[in-house]
């Protein structure tokens, strides 16, 4: 047992923190980035590439550094602190994991180096109008036609979808809407004929998109795998989200405690009121518990045992989502009116945390998975 970072991991944490301090230290810059095409600054993305972050989780044979879930946790925590807008989770972690674990080695070996080098951005289009958080609830159809598949259907709330060059689309080759078998994961050029996309911002200013597929033709060998592959990649993505949420929670708590020490009412800093002290303590307790679960998720995310892995991830996402909601709500309450203004950073942490509690499923969703 060892919960310490190695020297290399500490260096990674420092260099990522430095990158974000430089690019996001001034909160006004974030507002500006969000107005750029695709919803983030390509120059910042290029710095991710220079710092080796885009190559981090990939193997050396794909131009990567062979980083594992702990390295991902380190990067994601800093993304959470900075409220960064770039699609690192959606592209590098989630789509990256589908490629890394795909048994379609030809396609993997073609695409993974592009992601690692920052030459392409991929988003995973899996959510549908009525699928809620169930990855296996798929109505988008993949119909075999000679050497091709023809994709037909609509995907909603595609995280990072606005700026993606390629999409990985979950589609049903056979079976009923909620069957676990018969699902393919197709790599689709986002600009292919029949793909239409409507980009927008999410509540936390990160980019998202609606994607429609009308008779989109893809070669049959563009199928990366089935539901188990999607679930495995989602588990890695959820572990990453847990780390992001912990980074955001800790920054928000630090901000709140700082505010309590400087905000004066009744002639004293509000930090002297014991009821408020205890609230700050409860937030700290929640964040510590969440950090433990984010670590647990990271240390379980690479497991080949799908049942154990999925259970650990479900526990982590449940705990982190509950903590994120509590910390977010209480931070706003302790700030008072200033907390609900667009101008002030605390509200943006609250919104990001709210989005993170929903991504891939809220606490109720994972609690039910655990109880099943």
């Amino acid at each position: 047992m060892d919960f310490d970072y190695t020297d290399e991991q500490r260096l990674l944490a420092d260099s990522v923190a430095k990158l974000f301090a430089n690019r996001y230290g001034d909160f006004e810059k974030r507002k500006h980035y969000a107005t750029l095409p695709g919803g983030f600054d390509r120059a910042v993305w290029a710095e991710y590439a220079e710092a080796g972050l885009l190559a981090l989780p990939f193997g050396e044979d794909h131009g990567g550094f062979g980083g594992g879930p702990v390295e991902t946790m380190i990067v994601m925590e800093q993304i959470g602190r900075a409220l960064a807008l770039e699609p690192y989770m959606a592209n590098t972690i989630f789509a990256g994991a589908i490629l890394r674990h795909s048994a379609n080695h030809a396609l993997r070996d073609m695409m993974a180096p592009k992601l690692a080098a920052g030459e392409a951005i991929i988003a995973v289009a899996h959510t549908e109008r009525h699928s809620r958080y169930d990855l296996h609830d798929v109505t988008t159809a993949a119909r075999r036609d000679g050497d091709d598949f023809v994709l037909e259907g609509d995907k909603t709330v595609v995280i990072g979808g606005d700026s993606a060059d390629y999409l990985i689309v979950s589609a049903r080759i056979e079976g009923g809407r909620r069957d676990r078998h018969g699902i393919g994961l197709f790599l689709v050029d986002a600009n292919a004929p029949g793909v239409s996309r409507r980009g927008y911002k999410m509540q936390d200013l990160t980019p998202g998109a609606e994607i429609s597929l009308a008779s989109v033709r893809v070669p049959a060998n563009h199928d990366l795998g089935g539901l188990p592959l999607l679930e495995r990649a989602a588990d890695e993505a959820i572990a990453a989200i847990c780390a992001e949420a912990v980074g955001a929670m800790e920054s928000l708590i630090a901000m709140t405690v700082d505010y309590m020490k400087t905000r004066k009412q009744f002639g004293v800093p509000i930090a002297v009121f014991q009821a408020l002290q205890h609230r700050a303590v409860d937030m700290t307790v929640a964040a510590e518990q969440a950090r433990s679960m984010a670590v647990y998720a990271a240390l379980s995310a690479a497991s080949d045992n799908a049942k154990e892995r999925s259970e650990a991830i479900a526990m982590a996402k449940t705990a982190v989502s509950k903590a994120a909601r509590f910390v977010g709500q209480q931070a706003i309450q302790l700030h008072g009116g200033i907390g609900v203004t667009m101008e002030y950073k605390a509200g943006h942490y609250f919104k990001r945390l709210t989005m993170l509690t929903m991504q891939f499923g809220d606490a109720d969703h994972f609690l039910r998975r655990l109880a099943a």
């Binding site: 409507r198 927008y200 911002k201 999410m202 509540q203 907390g339 609900v340 709210t354």
Partner: protein, 403 residues
């Protein structure tokens, strides 16, 4: 003991329902159901209909349009408006400044302001909170300096709701900076928003909407006749006003309406093989809020019943702080439920819903999905404004602990 309304009260409830059904514009109701802003004119038009019916200011003195109703009758009207949902009479007018003028104002002020206030010919906003005076309202720093027949006001107010619509503002300002206690030396002054030296700056809230403002006063010259009551007694009038503000703060009807909407939407959303509304785990979550809300409703009725018997209408009961705490928590719980119902569809931002917000895009999923998360964000304010829930707990603590 008797849980039901009297036959007269039941008949009145039916009459209110019928009136709303006959007179509330459908689009206003639809926008309110879906969580959109309804704009100034819709609020004004509706209050004028209520006023014509005699229902805008039933709690005012009879000489100024009041009805001498029991608290239960007032409650029924308010609850039915919330449950419809229909706009409530503008609180700044009917619950805040109106009763203060009616109780402490001069005859000239009553004649000038009260009919116009009941009919929203004047739209009022509240100039109380300041950047340094929130929960500690008596710490306010805005000054009103007497010069001949005028007061000269300087300072800054904040969180001023809908100041962008307002014709007049009622201001708490310090007239005696040398007073021994900070509560002394404050006056209650009525100010025309068109007076030179007033600047209104919008504050954007986290849902992207514009409902609150900063209001700046720079050498604003106000006729001394706009002082309400006595100079340096403003704090007493403010306490009287804040006591009235707590009436209806539980918003039981509004929460009932929100839960009804949650049920409607949950019938449209799928969870697994069935509708979300059929899922036992979801029904348990709903039932939990239902139970909390029922307890709040009965608590509210008990407090009303006591007020009716004591005849101390308008005197705040310390238990009204319970209504604020539980009422805000339940309202906030309904916003969480709605967000959970639409699930991932709550994540895209589709504009604030304000008419001037051009980023409003095509809806994703049911129309309410676009407002689920913004409403959840925005409604965190409910446990902050009107005396934060921490201040309400202090009031109850004082009542039960005695110090």
């Amino acid at each position: 003991m008797e849980l039901s309304f009297s036959p007269e009260e039941s008949a009145f409830r039916d009459e209110v329902r019928q009136f709303i059904h006959d007179h509330l514009p459908h689009d206003v109701q639809k926008n309110m159901i879906e969580g959109r802003e309804i704009g100034k004119q819709a609020i004004v038009d509706w209050q004028r209909k209520l006023n014509a019916k005699g229902w805008a200011v039933p709690h005012w003195p009879q000489a100024w349009g009041g009805k001498d109703w029991s608290p239960v009758m007032e409650y029924i009207l308010l609850e039915e408006l919330q449950a419809a949902p229909a706009p409530q009479p503008l609180p700044f007018n009917v619950s805040m400044v109106g009763p203060v003028i009616a109780t402490f104002g001069s005859d000239a002020q009553k004649q000038k302001f009260l009919p116009a206030t009941a009919n929203i010919d004047i739209w009022w906003c509240q100039g109380f909170s300041e950047p340094g005076a929130g929960s500690d309202l008596a710490g306010l720093k805005t000054t009103a300096r007497r010069e001949g027949d005028f007061y000269i006001i300087n300072g800054q107010k904040t969180w001023t709701t809908l100041a962008q619509y307002a014709d007049w503002i009622f201001v708490l300002a310090r007239t005696n900076p040398q007073a021994a206690k900070k509560q002394e030396g404050i006056s209650f002054i009525l100010v025309d928003m068109k007076t030179p030296g007033i600047t209104v700056r919008p504050i954007q809230l986290i849902d992207g909407g514009h409902e609150v403002n900063e209001v700046w006063f720079d050498e604003v010259k106000v006729p001394a006749e706009n002082l309400v009551g006595e100079e340096n007694k403003g704090w007493d009038y403010a306490k009287f006003l804040l006591g009235n503000e707590r009436t209806g703060i539980a918003r039981v009807g509004a929460s009932k309406q929100r839960l009804r909407r949650v049920r409607e939407l949950a019938a449209l959303e799928r969870a697994g093989d069935g509708a979300l509304i059929e899922a036992p785990w979801f029904r348990e979550k709903l039932a939990e809020v239902d139970v909390d809300l029922k307890a709040l409703e009965i608590t509210q009725l008990r407090i009303l019943s006591d007020a009716r018997k004591s005849g101390k209408h308008g005197v705040p009961d310390p238990r009204s702080s319970i209504l604020k705490i539980k009422g805000s928590e339940i309202q906030q719980a309904t916003t969480e439920l709605l967000m959970e119902v639409v699930g991932p569809l709550a994540m895209p931002f589709q504009g604030s819903g304000e008419p001037e917000d051009a980023s409003n895009e095509m809806a994703i999923g049911p129309e309410d999905a676009a407002y689920a998360a913004p409403t959840y964000f925005n409604w965190r304010k409910i446990s902050i404004y009107g005396g934060s829930n921490e201040i309400q707990r202090n009031i109850i603590a004082k009542a039960i602990l005695g110090f």
